[in-house]
Structure formats: structure tokens, C-alpha cells
């Protein structure tokens, strides 16, 4: 695999956008708009992968990442944990691009809300395939916002500020500010444009593909604190159970609830 240049910038360049760009300096797009208008219209709306899922992908870091003034980074996990480790893996991707210290990262489970969190189906081994890039962009956006906030505070060019392991460093003056110290100022900044983000080179990864990171829920599991569906209680909550026939393929002939309704608590 050839190495990407150090100043590589991820561009979200669609085919239609590319043709428009070419059109500004050439005649290609004119010919295309005469000859194949329907094909290009379809190309613009056709979606693939995570984008094609209901409610698609969301990469707004203000939805997925927050940093408290004590430096605690909280990442929202929009997928269901079933032992596949998704609460750890998606948070880890954010933490890596953010260059966060994993010891100060927490995960918070998203409620079911696809308008806010994008597609939440947890099936088909799709969570990481579909959400790797959006989660990286979330982490990279917050990293850029922290660097920007530090640059403004020090009144230095942002290019001289580098986020590294939970702090932003200004190398020329050897000053540094922790993520917690920068959290409020960074949170007030606009989210950088997707096309301006600098994603890490694989050689820069701190956690992705590395050994030694423990599951984020490990301590909760061994202490009986992990919350499963059956552990969720609401006031006045009712419980339902399925009454199954005693024979395979049995069908309901008649139903009489009177005996069951005499049991205390059955409604």
C-alpha cells in the first residue's frame, strides 16, 4: 500500500460535484447535460452503504461527542451492544481521531432516535463498516475545534497547535492546554466543514488496530453493574410473556383469561 502524503485532506467529492468542477473550466459538463441528464440526476440521489440505510449517517460531533471541563470525553454509541464490543469499538475510533486518553473516555448509550443519531439498526455486521468514517470525522472535527480554541486563546496560528493525548500543545512556546480547559471555548466554535478535516494516517493511530485496549464495559460486567434490557425498570411497568402451545404448530382455538386475571398483579 502506498503512503498518502502527510498533508492529505479527505475530500468528499461526488461524481456530480466533480463534473461541475470540471465544467467550470471545460466543456464536458455542457455535453453531459445535453446527452445524459436523467443518468446524472439519478446519480445524485442514488445512495450506497450507510447512506442508503433509513435515516443514513450523521457525523455531527455535537451530537456524538462532548467534553466536560474535567476533561472527561463522552461518546454516544448509537448501536446496541450484544457482546460484539460495539460500545468499545465505535468510541475507540472517535478517541483515536480525537487523540484522547482512553482512560478519560466514557460511552453513553443513545436512545432510539434515528432522526438525531442516524440509522441505528444493529445487524449485518454493519456498525463498523458504516460508521467508521463518520465516527472518525466526529473525532477529527473535535480535535480541530480544540486546536482552534487553543490557537485563539494563545493568539497564534492554528497550524502551530497540535492536539496530542488529551492536550493541545503549542510547540514554539512549549505551552499546553488540557482538553477539559479548552472544552467550553471549543464547544462554542462552529463545526469545521467536512472537506477541511484532516484524518489521521494509519501510522498515527493510537488505538485502532492496536492491542491492549480493554472493553469499556469490563468493570461494569464483572461487578454486575452492566445494564441489560431486563434490568430496566419504570414505575408501573408491566411485563408480558408469551404462552406457547404444548405441541409444535399448535393454533389458538379459544382463549379464557379469567383464571389468569385472578392472579395478583395480572391485568
Amino acid at each position: 500500500m502506498s503512503a498518502l502524503p502527510a498533508d492529505f485532506v479527505l475530500n468528499n467529492l461526488s461524481r456530480r460535484g466533480f463534473l461541475k468542477g470540471v465544467g467550470a473550466t471545460g466543456a464536458l459538463v455542457v455535453a453531459a447535460s445535453w446527452g445524459l441528464p436523467d443518468a446524472f440526476a439519478a446519480d445524485a440521489v442514488k445512495k450506497y452503504g450507510g447512506d442508503a440505510m433509513p435515516h443514513g449517517l450523521i457525523d455531527d460531533p455535537k451530537v456524538y461527542v462532548s467534553i466536560a471541563t474535567d476533561g472527561t470525553v463522552t461518546v454516544i454509541c448509537n448501536r446496541s451492544e450484544m457482546g460484539q464490543g460495539v460500545r468499545t469499538s465505535l468510541s475507540l475510533v472517535v478517541a483515536d481521531e480525537l487523540d484522547a486518553d482512553w482512560a478519560h473516555v466514557k460511552v453513553q448509550q443513545a436512545p432510539g432516535d434515528e432522526v438525531r443519531y442516524g440509522n441505528q439498526d444493529t445487524d449485518g455486521s454493519r456498525s463498523m463498516r458504516h460508521w467508521y468514517e463518520p465516527m472518525r470525522r466526529c473525532g477529527a472535527s473535535v480535535r480541530a475545534m480544540l486546536e482552534q480554541a487553543a490557537a485563539e486563546q494563545w493568539n497564534v496560528p492554528v497550524g502551530e497547535c497540535r492536539a496530542q493525548l488529551h492536550k493541545v500543545i503549542h510547540q514554539p512556546s512549549a505551552r499546553e492546554l488540557g482538553y477539559g480547559e479548552l472544552a467550553t471555548a471549543a464547544g462554542a466554535l462552529a463545526v469545521p466543514a467536512r472537506d477541511s478535516l484532516r484524518l489521521k494516517q494509519p501510522s498515527e493511530f493510537r488505538y485502532i488496530g492496536k492491542e491492549g485496549v480493554k472493553a469499556i464495559d469490563g468493570a461494569d460486567i464483572v461487578n454486575g453493574r452492566a445494564v441489560y434490557g431486563a434490568d430496566v425498570h419504570f414505575a408501573g411497568m408491566l411485563y408480558a410473556t408469551v404462552a406457547r402451545p404444548k405441541v409444535y404448530g399448535g393454533k389458538v382455538k379459544s382463549f379464557d383469561a379469567s383464571a389468569a386475571l385472578k392472579v395478583p398483579g395480572v391485568v
Binding site: V222, G224, R225, A226
Partner: protein
């Protein structure tokens, strides 16, 4: 009213004597670490300690344990041997979904309390009633061996 000695405290519970201990622990006393798996004593997810011995709380009526000390995974971190087992579980990264692991850890702790240096056969015999849908059995065994080693080292 039934008084349950649970995790070092007396709980007065307004339940009938035939209520499964698991329901009393989870739904009435509010300790959620012990899990419902099968409700028939077949899977081990509901394993607790009754006076230190492992038992399936889903098939134990609360009326049968009056006056006995019940402890659950929620309070195991206060037990010196329990702590060693929990740390071995973390070091070995045993859990996947984790739903059965509270019961696994309770069975393993009870084993090491009576037999601090079990053979592989003894580990298998003690753990045979705890099943794991994720299939973490090999790591469970590794963790128990590690915990046993630590207990031996601490004694020496």
C-alpha cells in the same frame, strides 16, 4: 414479611415464601447483577452464594433460605477472593456480552474458596452448570487458573 440477609444487610421483604429468591433479589430488593436466564436451574446465570456455597436463585424459594447469608455479584468486590477472581476476569478479557458472567464469577469464586488450587478437571466439574452463549469457556478457565495462581502467590 420475610427478612432476607442479603449482601450483609437485613432486608424486610413483603413477599410470599414460595417466591423464587431471584425475583426477590432483583425485583423487590433491587439488586440487578444476578440474571434471569432459564428459570429452571439449567444455565447458571442466576448463581448466588448461600452461606458461601453456590446456588441457583431462580429455583430456590425465598422461604428456604431464612436466616442464611445470601451474597450476590453486586457485592463481590468486598470479598478478598472475589476481588482476585474479578481482576482475573478483567485481565483475561473474558466477557463478550457479559450476561452470564456474574453467575460464572460467583461459581468460580465459590470453587476457589473451597479449593484454592483446582485441577482442570475440578474447574470443569465446578463450572459445568454455567453456560455461556458467547462461548467464552476457554477464557473462563484461563481466568480461574490465573486467579488460583494469584491466590497461591498471596499465600506463599
Amino acid at each position: 414479611m420475610i427478612t432476607l440477609k442479603l449482601n450483609g444487610q437485613d432486608h424486610s421483604l413483603d413477599v410470599t415464601e414460595d417466591m423464587p429468591l431471584l425475583w426477590a433479589i432483583r425485583d423487590v430488593a433491587g439488586y440487578n447483577g444476578t440474571k434471569f436466564g432459564c428459570g429452571m436451574g439449567l444455565c447458571g446465570a442466576c448463581t448466588i452464594h448461600i452461606d458461601g456455597a453456590p446456588a441457583r436463585s431462580c429455583i430456590t424459594p425465598i422461604g428456604a433460605v431464612k436466616g442464611q447469608a445470601i451474597s450476590t455479584i453486586d457485592n463481590l468486590h468486598t470479598d478478598p477472593i472475589g476481588q482476585v477472581v474479578q481482576q482475573a476476569w478483567l485481565d483475561t478479557a473474558v466477557a463478550q456480552c457479559g450476561y452470564c458472567q456474574g453467575g460464572q464469577i460467583m461459581s468460580a469464586t465459590a470453587l476457589l474458596k473451597t479449593n484454592p488450587n483446582p485441577s482442570d478437571a475440578q474447574i470443569e466439574e465446578a463450572m459445568v452448570g454455567n453456560i455461556c452463549r458467547c462461548g467464552t469457556y476457554n477464557r473462563i478457565k484461563t481466568a480461574i487458573r490465573q486467579a488460583a495462581t494469584h491466590l497461591q502467590e498471596a499465600k506463599a
